[in-house]
Subunit: 402 residues, 2 copies
């Protein structure tokens, strides 16, 4: 007997057959004696269709009204799934964001959760009902409808699990777990039985699109036991939790991020505060900077190199060129034919030679490294874009090959 | 400067072009300086489509979950219409039943309104916003979503107009007002400039499908000025209100109801309480009885004749036959080839000879009258179904012909 939160995404509830399959999973969990709270997304492409429809009415619709419109998608999902469970003879009740008192701030279309009410959900669970809650949506303090932005249903599920002190929060998706690398691109990629929150965060931020990053951060903060598993196969997934591994693999996974560009400011005057100036300018434009390398000075000048998302290239270039005299650099060099390849692992700190093995794998394939960045649980290298896939495979073979 | 509630039905907001037209009407009303509250139904066939969808998930869906599902239709309507008004540069805000605190009892799918909150609507109007409220739906005291049943959006509009003390409640429909008879069936039918609540109620209950009866009853109780008008033509409609007519037409309209069957219980023992017995039996089966005639006794027996809806024939017959001995009648005669034709008019009481003129019109056409029933503002006759249309035309010609 446990309290289990189960989240199913839009493709898992896209039509009546898929909802029937999902209802089967829910029914099994309930019939084992567990309290079950289910969080659902809108069916299939409903959200996209509603957005397209809205644009017919207003090419630039207000975010408040968009949230009123989009929130109907999840409301339909929970009602239909409740009907399906009832047709199987199970007691089920649907609840919307405002009925649960899923309170957010007023940042329409990308709201932040401030509180989750437990009272109503608890009451329904105590009556032994399966509770179906709309994902993605909430209500602000003015009683206006808000949404959490894309992928927000993962966060809804984790927030409910945290508020209700659930024993487990299961995220059902199209994939059956978290892999050592993208199984569609890397031969020999293996499913992980478990992974820590930090590893999951590093993998997610590097393009492993299994879990919404906000949801993992929240799970880490409130120590929610997460499990990622497939809604199509009745198999164990990957557990995401804060575990002390006794015998652990040093590296959990390899990921590639091709959405990256390298900027170099050449011949900057070597004086205090210059780095602050540069990154303040970029922060003012809301540009996230990833790897940063400050080269050793030659004479009284130096180079500063960093990476940004490709979408930010134009904005970053304009801001830096506008401030060329204020910063005091010679010229700007931008390379968008690069890819970032990273290894992630909580055991990395305690295991010597991990980075060395990574560099060795790349050297053997004659892949040149542009930049290197390390953190407690991650080593990232910047390589030429053309070398990206070979680099991932070579590193994966090195660490996970037989 | 007035407070005007405008209600638009599903066909008036069925697609983007129709919503644009509706938005034009709203914009004009607003730009004349009025406070405008708009009540919308779900677009076009949305409600029917959602019901059909629900039946795929559960052939017998719970009414609570059905209401959760169906209420999304109006929510989409108000959001889209708000977006359209905003695209025209007008300030608009959408509100759902629970945001307005449109409180009902818990009779899911056919709920009764118990209270309508004014606070939120007032606040938005004070900020000079056009307020778009979902019709058809409310919320019960447990914070669960309810719906008012079919045609409930008319009632929503009147309830809001009553609660807000609106100066006028305009019901926009496919027709441009209330006519002296069904203009599709009767030659020479004329649009009425105004009509009283009671006349409207009698006409509505006799099949003039212009306004939902509940909405007229509520308008009468709270003395809400109603106007029925077309969303396709910018023309004055028919005003429904409690007016003292100085020079009034005695008859406001002629209506036919073919959904009627005549029951006769032949040779009932003539003793006290027998009518009570019969109509108690029918009431227990929730069968509404319309015209009732108790014939003069012959010997110590009599006949009792009454009409019911055709849908109730089987239930009524079974209940009466089952209780034949208890009631004590000889045999039962049922005729479902009848039609009820009525004239309605608040001026009828004060004008002698109205009924006589009606009977004269029928006699001239050699139409036989089966039953007659009169009220303060109505005279109804039962005729053979085949004579129904000719009867309506003859009576209409008599009262409204040139």
């Amino acid at each position: 007997m446990a309290l289990i939160v189960q989240k199913f995404g839009g493709s898992s509830v896209a039509d009546v057959e898929k909802v029937r399959r999902v209802a089967g999973i829910i029914a099994d969990t309930y019939c084992e004696g567990n309290d079950v709270v289910v969080v659902l997304s809108a069916q299939g492409k409903t959200t996209d269709e509603l957005i397209a429809k809205a644009l017919q009415y207003n090419p630039n619709p207000s975010k408040r009204e968009m949230d009123v419109l989009l929130s109907t998608g999840e409301q339909q999902s929970v009602a239909l799934c409740a009907m399906m469970l009832q047709s199987m003879g199970l007691p089920a009740v649907s609840l919307t964001g405002w009925q649960v008192r899923f309170v957010t701030n007023s940042n329409y279309s990308n709201a932040t959760i401030t509180a989750v009410g437990c009272e109503r959900i608890r009451k329904e669970l105590d009556a032994r009902r399966i509770v179906l809650v709309t994902g993605f949506q909430g209500v602000n303090k003015y009683d206006d409808i808000t949404t959490l932005g894309r992928g927000g249903s993962d966060t809804s599920a984790v927030a409910i699990a945290a508020a209700m002190h659930a024993d487990l929060c299961q995220i059902y998706t199209d994939v059956d777990g978290v892999y050592t690398a993208d199984p569609n691109e890397v031969k020999g990629a293996k499913k992980l039985e478990e992974i820590t929150f930090d590893e999951m965060l590093e993998l997610a931020s590097m393009g492993a699109k299994v879990l919404h990053n906000r949801s993992v951060e929240m799970a880490k903060r409130y120590n929610v036991n997460l499990e990622v598993l497939s809604s199509y196969q009745r198999l164990p997934g990957t557990k995401v939790r804060e575990v002390k591994k006794l015998e652990q693999a040093a590296v959990s996974g390899v990921a590639k991020d091709a959405n990256v560009a390298r900027f170099t400011l050449v011949n900057i005057k070597d004086e205090p505060g210059v780095a602050f100036k540069i990154f303040r300018i970029l922060a003012n434009q809301r540009i996230n900077v990833d790897i940063i390398i400050q080269s050793l000075g030659h004479g009284n000048t130096q180079d500063i190199t960093f990476t940004v998302s490709r979408a930010d290239i134009a904005t970053a270039r304009a801001a830096l060129e506008e401030n060329r005299l204020a910063i005091g650099y010679d010229h700007l060099d931008v390379d968008d034919h690069v890819a970032k390849v990273s290894i992630v692992g909580a055991g990395m700190l305690m295991t010597s030679g991990i980075a060395v093995n990574m560099f060795d794998a790349l050297a053997q394939k004659k892949i040149n490294i542009n930049m290197i960045s390390t953190s407690e649980i991650k080593v990232s290298v910047l390589v030429n874009e053309d070398d990206g896939d070979r680099a991932v495979q070579a590193i994966h073979d090195k660490f996970f090959g037989d």
